[in-house]
Symmetry: C2
Amino acid sequence: MLIVKKFGGTSVANKERIFNVAKRCIEDYKEGHDVIVVLSAMGDSTDELIEKAKDINPNPSKRELDMLLTTGEQISVSLMAMAMGALGVPAISLNAAQVAMHTTSSYGNARLKRIDSERIRNELDARKIVIVTGFQGVNKFEDLTTLGRGGSDTTAVALAAALHADKCEIFTDVEGVYTADPRKIEKAKKLNEITYDEMLELATLGAQVLHNRSVEMAKKYGVTLVVRSSLNSNEGTIVKEEVDVESMLISGVAADKNTARISVIGVSNEPGIAFKIFNSLAKHNINVDIILQSVGRDGTKDISFTVEKENLKEAVDVLESGKAVKCQKIETDEKVAKVSIVGAGMNSNAGIAAKMFEALYNVGVNIHMISTSEIRVTVLIDQDNVDIATKAVHAAFLED
Amino acid sequence: MLIVKKFGGTSVANKERIFNVAKRCIEDYKEGHDVIVVLSAMGDSTDELIEKAKDINPNPSKRELDMLLTTGEQISVSLMAMAMGALGVPAISLNAAQVAMHTTSSYGNARLKRIDSERIRNELDARKIVIVTGFQGVNKFEDLTTLGRGGSDTTAVALAAALHADKCEIFTDVEGVYTADPRKIEKAKKLNEITYDEMLELATLGAQVLHNRSVEMAKKYGVTLVVRSSLNSNEGTIVKEEVDVESMLISGVAADKNTARISVIGVSNEPGIAFKIFNSLAKHNINVDIILQSVGRDGTKDISFTVEKENLKEAVDVLESGKAVKCQKIETDEKVAKVSIVGAGMNSNAGIAAKMFEALYNVGVNIHMISTSEIRVTVLIDQDNVDIATKAVHAAFLED
């Protein structure tokens, strides 16, 4: 088997942890598998480098910041190779340029375009463990780039895809993917399996186990993902295209407080209004989530939608600049949250949404907005109600 | 003009010093010159990285150690680019792979083979200051290598040669090249000019201002070197092919305690003996310096020579193993030192050596061995006599 294993910064934060990871990888190697290890920078070292940069230039060039930050992963991969060497196993570290991991040019948030697999194949054929810098790439100018948030997960999945790995294991500080946030919902259960689509909805909805881009890529190239604990050898959660038909209708409940509602009140009821609003927001790279449109009694329309909290001010500015559309007033509400249920079995079962609404009604939670997809139902509620709502919905669907 | 400027680790050890170097480079840039800056790793960071490595593996792979160490210069060049950016001057940092600086494969002590100048030329044409990582290169496997001791000087000279720079300035913590070590000889004077050959003899003889490899390369490609202080804007010492005929017969006096004498006593007086001895030492990479051969009264020969102190034990082992040559006994002496005078004008003046011996005789210093070249006279004396000997010779030749 060819296995790609990804470990985050906390897993390689010091000598002891580096050796733990090394031993874990060597187990697979000694069973005869080919092993590729993807690492993030040690502990807080990326933050420390950013601090150093900002001390010299509060607004550093993104190209130079990437040049600086990419040293972090190069340090962890070379030290890991030395640790494996100390344990008597041949290993080699490779940075993004050596692999090479080709990306788009945009520094700080580059996208992977293509991976050369020849060097890695040769090193694997020589029976070495190959240790690759996560989070980074090279662009067409041969400049170093970074992949942005969750970048190391993406590196691991991309390598697994390029080399047709049998699986890609993402090691984390939780046991796997849960039916709800286990810190909030006592009865949350670990899932054995989940589909890419469910995982995508959960990632989007704030479950924060895997980054969306890595799941999208895994789905696109059919890479079997395993989310598991770096602290023990429990089996974790497998993310793949299809799961057992026997599996639950609903895989999980996710809550997301990073949302705000905007209501554009009293726009004229004519074609193209919605287009104008959302087009003007899109031009400012503001993503819009749940959308609700209603016709008022005076013949005007109200359009409500949600955005991420950090985009609220800019969205309102865009709308108030008047370039988007004329309206009577703009209302905003930051004290809202989304609660969602996700399940691949949902679309063959009509009563799911009703059952969710009933569970919320029973605990007195008022629903502001509703959005559905084939495998998801999301409601917008008051932020204060998030915990009680999540608990009630989890109990209705996921507890015996 | 195209100017290459090289700064060592202490010159970029903290934010304040980084800005000092940045300002210094910007002065030249604003006068319209093209500027390439070569930097070492910040302060003690290379030593800190080595310590980290040895903590994980006391005997780390040299390839992985180079992978680790090269992050040091990448950090200093990116921070320098940010500092210049903060001062409003366009700058770009490039690592060895981006340049590219092609080297031999030998990790930890690679030799530069070829430099691609296209990327640097393009960035200079775009009126950017180009900041290059010193001390490092890439080999034919696209692996990172380091150049060994004095490597950043070599990087700077090689770039100056490849780009036909008008001069290559090496910034250091002294004012330039002196007629003797100014910490030892109070009346030592700074030289305005010195030839490559003299500088090579002085570097070899322990003056430690410039690394030999960088001077050899400067001579080979005719790069004008300037050794000057990073603390002020005094003019420093120019190292070039020929200096004023008016210049002094003797450029400097150098002392070197890193030497040991070996005497091979009583070898048979037949052809090939010297070859056998020095060939066997060369096979162990032991460099031999002053050689003296004498015929003894019983028809056997004595052969004496000096090696660097750290090679003494191995040299004796090689000789005693009997594979080299048969002899009556081997004597060694570590308590010796070399004192040398160097001067391009020496070979046209017959009395120089005699004047040196007279100066030593006057202060009661006994000479064990003598070696001369066209521009150098070296004597081996007791180590305890080094200071008095250096002072006497300096007074005889270099003081009014």
